[in-house]
């Protein structure tokens, strides 16, 4: 395998063999090690010393079900700490097949020009982005580049939000056929890509390329057993909630338990939640001849996505997912999936994180810029992000900036990053994750929803142990390229993962090696953040959530600071 270094100051490309320190790393694990080794942690996240990394997980290119995710990493301009965000689509698989362990984008262009990075088998080229690619959204960017490079080329790109260095900007990647839009959304990585002057990376399809397997029999046996476990899992198989109703399957349960962000996190239960449920989504999509059960990555057997059409059957967006429903739906007082789909499309096109933007809009509505539930008013606000107006730039920079500018104290963030669709006052395990993860408030860093028979979500006991366990699992998922939903078989039998890794690479990992690998990700990230100057108090849940009871349970976030401060004692 090799690493591709792209120097934006010199517009230069350099291939290098993988240094021994990086050899047994991939995805989030590689990002953590590389950033700690190669950049000053206190650097300006949008300056020349930050590095932007694209890397598949350790299973990238091996066609393991659900394991083709692309990790993107850099120091985050939103949290000030380390960031890894990952996305489905075809990019992770494509890089793996090209035997590229990472693309590392360094420095900045001398002027403010933008470039396209073209990748093919054994070749890479940096070419200036012509004017037709400037100030346009991610859909048009992907369309134009696929016209040039072929419909089966993978396009990773930013929209206007990334070009304008908005700290709520994400990075979009194309997927199979109509699954146009997958996002490494969190932490403002789109702004880092914009700061590097990189509008897009295009990866031509590597026809006939496959990764080399060290022990084909060991790998195939484990990969097959893993896929079979996924298919028979009651949550994930073809009769499971994820496949039938998508991630929206949890709307009803999260709402019932009083954790659904509603009207800027001021309530935990939304009176129109039934209109946002997975059942409703499936009913509407099928009635309009859209699609459910589609997949974002080659070979995924869960297939949890959808292609959501309007009343006339014209596609609005693929796909409408839970976090977006929560943050731009109930959080904005909108009880209509068509409205959610419209806002979702706009965020995707501008290249914005729907979680960060939904939270920022919630803060803006509380400030009176429009009314909760007023879709025209909300669309009017969001349009300004694409237009680059002053207000649009404020909203595009996320919830903290919006709260400061508009004088709103109720800002649902931890470490500067907006909370996803689970209020921490009633799902306290997630609150512990938000308040301790080196990634900031991020459900994919350790999601406690549905942890049955373990720790009651409204109580404080056992939450720190639960969160740590989940954070270690999340580090494994993000470093191997596995989707969050593919975790149950690996949790039940980690040997499956160890055999797949040993089958590909021949490293002879034991369970102890695997466990140390996962824990080292968190240790390295925590050290990066410490050196960046982040203290324990920077991670905390906002004060108002400790004092303001959340209806209907009237719960506050009351996990003691001493528990939060000792989460990683057992790491």
């Amino acid at each position: 395998m090799k690493i591709l270094r792209v120097n934006m100051k010199e517009a230069g490309i350099r291939w290098e063999t993988v240094p021994p320190d990086y050899e047994q790393l991939g995805g989030r694990a590689l990002i953590a090690k590389l950033l700690l080794s190669e950049i000053p942690p206190a650097c300006d996240a949008l300056g020349p010393h930050n590095k932007l990394i694209f890397t598949p997980g350790l299973l990238g290119g091996a066609i393991v079900a659900t394991a083709g995710r692309l990790s993107v990493g850099a120091k985050s301009p939103l949290t000030g700490g380390i960031k890894e965000a990952n996305a489905g689509g075809t990019a992770g698989d494509a890089l793996g097949k090209l035997a590229i362990k990472a693309i590392v984008v360094e420095e900045q262009p001398k002027n403010k020009e933008f470039y396209i990075l073209e990748l093919d088998v054994d070749t890479a080229k940096l070419i200036p982005a012509d004017n037709s690619l400037r100030h346009i959204g991610t859909y048009a960017t992907a369309d134009r580049l696929q016209e040039r490079y072929g419909a089966d080329a993978t396009v990773i790109c930013i929209g206007q939000a990334g070009e304008y260095l908005m700290t709520g900007a994400g990075i979009s990647t194309t997927g199979e056929r109509d699954q146009r839009s997958n996002h490494a959304a969190r932490g403002g990585l789109g702004a880092v890509m914009g700061s590097k002057g990189l509008k897009a990376v295009v990866i031509r399809k590597a026809v006939g390329k496959a990764i080399q397997l060290h022990d084909e029999e060991l790998f195939r046996k484990a990969a097959k057993a893993y896929a079979q476990k996924l298919i028979t899992d009651p949550k994930l198989g073809t009769k499971g909630s994820q496949h039938l109703y998508g991630t929206a399957s949890i709307v009803g349960a999260v709402n019932e338990m009083g954790s659904l962000p509603t009207r800027n996190f001021s309530e935990g239960k939304f009176e129109h939640a039934a209109q946002l449920r997975g059942e409703k989504l499936r009913e509407l999509v099928l009635a309009r001849e859209g699609k459910v059960g589609t997949r974002c990555m080659p070979g995924c057997v869960i297939a949890c996505r959808n292609l959501y059409p309007d009343e006339s059957g014209k596609p609005i967006v693929g796909t409408v997912q839970y976090e977006t429903i929560a943050l731009v739906g109930s959080n904005l007082g909108l009880g209509n999936l068509d409205d959610v789909a419209t806002l979702n499309y706009m965020c995707n096109d501008f290249g914005l994180d729907t979680i960060e933007t939904g939270a920022a809009l919630g803060v803006a509505l509380e400030a009176g810029l429009a009314k909760f539930g007023d879709i025209e008013g909300i669309v009017g606000l969001l349009k300004q992000v694409g237009e680059g107006t002053v207000l649009g730039r404020v909203l595009g920079c996320g919830a903290v900036t919006t709260g400061k500018v508009l004088g709103i104290r109720r800002v649902p963030v931890a470490l500067g990053q907006a909370m996803p669709g689970y209020d921490p006052r009633t799902l306290k395990g997630n609150g512990v994750t938000y308040a301790t993860s080196p990634q900031g408030a991020d459900h994919t860093a350790g999601n406690a929803f549905g942890a049955r028979n373990e720790v009651p979500p409204l109580g404080t006991a056992g939450q720190k142990e639960l969160s740590l366990r989940l954070q270690i699992i999340a580090a494994m998922l993000d470093s191997t390229g596995l989707c969050l939903f593919g975790r149950p078989p690996i949790i039940a039998n980690p040997q499956l993962m160890i055999d797949m890794i040993n089958g590909i690479y021949g490293w002879g990992w034991t369970k102890e090696d695997y466990d140390r690998f996962n824990r080292d990700v968190l240790r390295t990230e925590l050290e990066f953040n410490r050196r960046a100057g982040i203290t324990k108090t920077d991670y905390r849940i906002p004060e108002y959530m400790r004092e303001e009871p959340l209806p209907p349970h009237n719960a506050v976030f009351d996990v003691p600071d001493s528990d939060l401060d000792s989460v990683f004692d057992a790491l």
Binding site: Q242, G278, Y322, A448
Partner: protein
Amino acid sequence: MAVDIEVFGQLLPGRPRRCSVEIQGPTTARELANRIGLELSHIGLLSIDGVQSELDDPVSPNSRLCFFPYLAGG
């Protein structure tokens, strides 16, 4: 005295989304699931008055009981 029951997702086909079940006194979620004909092995999560609960937890008259299939957060 009754318990208001709602079922979600793939537990739904073949039965009404909501129903009211008469009870004489305290009972359990398991007993009520059996009474409305739910296959226990298909229940992934349940809540009693909005609180995540287990099958053998008590259900009081006038409670709201929700049954969900197996779900994954994210």
